[in-house]
């Protein structure tokens, strides 16, 4: 017996603990099941009894959602009504989104107005997207969407294709969606972003046999760039051409981009164009030789020109810098002062190199060039951070476009005037054609001649310490190159720019695809011009060690007789015996002119270098 006591105590203890445990379990369970059972005793419905336990919310009790019943007796008498169901207490994120949803804000739709079968809601009873379409079209009958490629794919079970919610948001539908007329900019940006979200996704594109780079190609066009820089008001977003709901492949005769509809399609924004305007390619791949041969070869040619020109002149610049720097170092070490600094008396006499008219033209050229670069390049590199700042400086792409055209007109006027002056130089009054060839290839002409070739070879040898520096006349070969580069640039940039100015009118001259070529030429040539001016020209005339940081002659117009002798010895020899040298003598420039020239010149150089930095940054990092 004595041994039996402890065993009995243990069994009693065991029973007590088990009972206590089961008791707590029952108490813990009671609110859920107990309450549910109590609810069902009055709210007896097949939905609650049979379907709800199997539904996605089946683990919850009635009172998890229908809160606020404090007094069961009052409730059963129809007095104490439960609080409104707050789905957001669990679905917090959705509730936060839905609070901004048009359907709630303006129409006061609540969760169960769409999720009507909430008590029998099964998880993924159907394909989700098909279910969404079914739900939305209950109220929004949309025959156009139902006939579209997207709908067809969704209904075939493709979960990649766009259902209503992919564009309009599921719980975040915004108000501008229904009134495109009222919020065109917001709507265009919003929807284009949604199109891009899927169509730029490589994995999705691959699964569906689409081109994942199509968005990138669009972003390389004028439409895409203006949209990308954040002022999408005046350019086509995706839906402007592809329409909103009835999006179909271009082979489909009902499609807005079917060849038979293109005139009408482009005509929604553009007007007054010839039918071949629609040959314009909205998202071409200029690297595709087979599909876009004209664009491909233009790209190859422009890249070749860019690389060739820059390689030659950059090498030229580096060698030149090496030579002068070494030379200067040698002279400094030996204590030899440059001849120009030793000038005395007659040697200090100022000689005019640039007339006031030429200087004014160069200042105008600088202003025009910087305006063009600062309005054009933000668009070229629309996704760089500095582009947004620059375009903001012009208060938007539209305004920048106006300044770009204004500056272009100024540049065209300057070049036309120079062409006129050149003709007058070649055919002076009273002489006509007599002596034309002599003037054309003479020392005062800017036309390259045999001596330039000799000078170039001479300079190359001098760079490599293999000879003396060649003796120059009025114009050196690199100055002649600068001069002709502007003319070539005007041909390439100017003609393409004029074509793009009013593209609708251009279509009467040329088919639409030429506009694609023109954009490419305009953009690449602009890059060449900016890089050339900001590196080669800046160095040749200003940053070269014996002129650093700038040569003010283009602003003050004069240099000393000693400078003339040293820099242009052949010109000096030509002039010294005649009376012309006398007529070229000028007083020393005044302080105001010097200060103004230095300020404007240095500011321009600095601005050019900053822009160069931005361009180089964009070339490598975007």
């Amino acid at each position: 017996m004595r041994q039996g006591v402890p065993s009995r105590i243990f069994s009693i203890l065991f029973l007590a603990v088990t009972a206590a445990f089961l008791g707590t379990l029952c108490i813990a369970e009671r609110p859920a099941w107990g309450a549910a059972l109590d609810c069902l005793s009055c709210h007896d419905d097949y939905r609650y009894r049979a379907e709800f336990p199997k539904s996605v919310h089946g683990d919850n009790s009635c009172t998890s959602c229908h809160t606020g019943i404090t007094d069961e007796k009052r409730h059963s008498e129809g007095e104490g009504k439960p609080a409104a169901v707050n789905c957001g207490s669990c679905h917090e994120d959705i509730a936060r989104e839905y609070r901004q949803n048009f359907h709630y804000v303006q129409l006061d739709f609540r969760c169960n107005d769409c999720h009507r079968n909430i008590h029998s809601l099964r998880p993924r009873a159907k394909k989700a997207k098909a279910a969404i379409i079914e739900k939305c079209t209950e109220c929004h009958a949309n025959e156009e969407y139902v006939a579209s490629g997207h709908a067809e794919a969704v209904l075939k079970g493709n979960e990649d294709a766009a259902a209503c919610s992919d564009c309009h948001g599921l719980h975040s539908t915004q108000v501008f969606h229904t009134s495109l007329e009222k919020y065109p900019e917001e709507a265009r940006e919003f929807y284009s972003r949604n199109c891009k979200r899927c169509h730029a996704d490589p994995a999705l594109a691959k699964r569906n046999n689409l081109n994942p780079r199509i968005v990138a190609y669009y972003e390389q066009t004028y439409h895409g760039k203006v949209q990308g820089i954040g002022y999408p008001a005046n350019v086509a977003g995706c839906a402007d051409c592809h329409t909103t709901h009835n999006i179909l492949p271009k082979e489909d005769p009902r499609s807005s981009i079917h060849p038979s509809h293109l005139v009408e399609n482009c005509g929604r924004c553009h007007s007054g164009f010839a039918p071949r305007f629609v040959d314009y390619k909205a998202h071409p791949d200029y690297r595709d030789r087979r599909l876009y041969p004209s664009l491909f070869w233009t790209f190859v040619a422009m890249s070749g020109l860019l690389a060739g020109t820059l390689c030659f002149f950059w090498l030229h610049t580096v060698l030149w810098w090496r030579k002068t720097y070494w030379e200067k170092h040698r002279m400094e070490k030996a204590g030899v002062l440059p001849q120009a600094l030793l000038a005395k008396g007659e040697g200090l006499q100022q000689i005019q190199r640039f007339s006031p008219r030429e200087r004014v033209m160069h200042v105008l050229l600088i202003l025009s060039f910087f305006t063009l670069v600062m309005t054009g390049f933000p668009l070229k590199y629309y996704d760089a951070a500095w582009s947004k700042i620059l375009i903001g400086f012009w208060s938007g792409a539209h305004q920048a476009g106006l300044f770009h055209r204004g500056a272009a007109l100024l540049l065209i006027a300057i070049v036309a005037y120079v062409a006129f002056l050149s003709l007058r130089f070649l055919f002076p009054k009273g002489q006509g054609r007599r002596g034309f060839l002599g003037r054309l290839f003479g020392p005062a002409s800017l036309v390259p001649n045999w001596k330039d070739w000799e000078d170039m070879k001479g300079m190359a040898l001098w760079f490599l310490d293999r000879g003396e520096m060649p003796k120059f006349d009025r114009w050196t070969y690199w100055e002649k190159f600068d001069f002709w580069a502007v003319f070539w640039g005007m041909f390439a940039i100017g003609s393409s720019g004029i074509l793009l100015w009013v593209p609708e009118w251009s279509s009467y001259l040329l088919p639409g695809w030429v506009l694609n070529v023109a954009s490419l030429v305009h953009s690449e040539e602009a890059l060449l011009a900016a890089l050339f001016i900001f590196t080669v020209h800046f160095f040749n005339t200003h940053f070269i060690p014996n002129k650093f940081p700038m040569d003010r002659i283009i602003f003050t117009g004069t240099y000393t007789l000693e400078d003339l002798k040293e820099q242009r010895p052949l010109e000096y020899d030509r002039l010294k015996d005649g009376t012309r040298l006398e007529s070229m003598k000028r007083p020393y420039p005044g302080i105001p002119l010097k200060l103004l020239g230095a300020t404007f010149g240095l500011a321009s150089l600095l601005l050019g270098l900053v822009l160069l930095g931005h361009i180089v940054w964009s070339l490598f990092y975007t």
Binding site: L107, D108, A141, T178, E181
Partner: protein
């Protein structure tokens, strides 16, 4: 010379008062604005502002800020006696457009009748909801699946099926300014009194200004056995359709 000078003065006297007083008058007329946050603070501080919902009764009962009274802006002039006699009572008018148009009209009426502390809820009920504040439903109308009609489809219906009746639920003034031909006018704020006037045997298409009010009206009428659908986008989309057609015709 003197006469010309005097005439000049006369002109100046005639022209200037509107120039000087008009802008000042305009700013004085409208009631002061409160943001949803400020209204919530008023309520929390126990200032007990009288909340006046200026939408139709159906809309007001379906969803309003707790404790509101319902007086449509169109009826306030007639029902001014329902406002408290204390002219200094704090009042906040609100409606359901972001420009707070109806509540501004209503507050103007109140100000004209000498109420000094009339406010307008800035951005209306939409702004209140966006800010995350709750509304209550006194008599909620069940939302059904009622398919809306788009403008081109409505025009097709009106020309092909004589039975279809367009019912314009905008105010009388808006209706008079321009409406769909053959449409009848039954303003939203009268719908709860006059819905029986509508024919039960004809399909109805409801028209409003932007398509924001017809879904509720359609549900209200559907509950009463009508075959009814709202026009998607309201008169805005109808007029946009006409403008687009005009533009296209011009191009051709």
């Amino acid at each position: 010379m003197r006469r010309i000078f005097h005439q000049g003065l006369l002109w100046i006297a005639l022209l200037f008062p509107p120039l000087i007083f008009a802008p000042a008058g305009a700013t004085e007329m409208g009631a002061k604005r409160v943001s949803p946050q400020e209204l919530a603070q008023m309520l929390a501080e126990g200032k007990q502002p009288l909340l006046v919902n200026n939408m139709g009764l159906i809309e007001c009962l379906d969803h309003s800020i707790a404790g509101s009274i319902c007086i449509p802006s169109e009826e306030l002039e007639k029902r001014i006696g329902e406002l408290p006699p204390d002219k200094n009572r704090l009042m906040v008018f609100y409606c359901e457009s972001e420009t707070a148009q109806k509540s501004c009209e209503a507050s103007d009426v109140a100000v004209r009748h000498g109420y000094t502390a009339a406010y307008v809820l800035n951005g209306g009920l939409p702004a209140w909801k966006r800010a995350g504040y709750a509304t209550v439903a006194a008599e909620r109308i069940t939302r059904r699946a009622i398919a809306s009609v788009k403008a081109p489809a409505l025009r097709k219906m009106l020309t092909e099926r004589a039975a279809v009746l367009a019912v314009d639920i905008r105010s009388e003034i808006a209706f008079q300014k321009g409406h769909i031909e053959s449409a009848i006018n039954l303003p939203m704020y009268q719908l709860h009194r006059r819905w029986r006037e509508l024919p039960l045997n004809r399909p109805l298409i409801l028209v409003d200004s932007r398509g924001f009010r017809t879904p509720l009206a359609a549900n209200y009428l559907a509950e009463r056995g009508y075959n009814v659908r709202p026009l998607f986008g309201g008169m805005t989309s109808w007029e946009a359709m006409l403008a687009k057609e005009k533009k296209d015709a011009k191009r051709k």
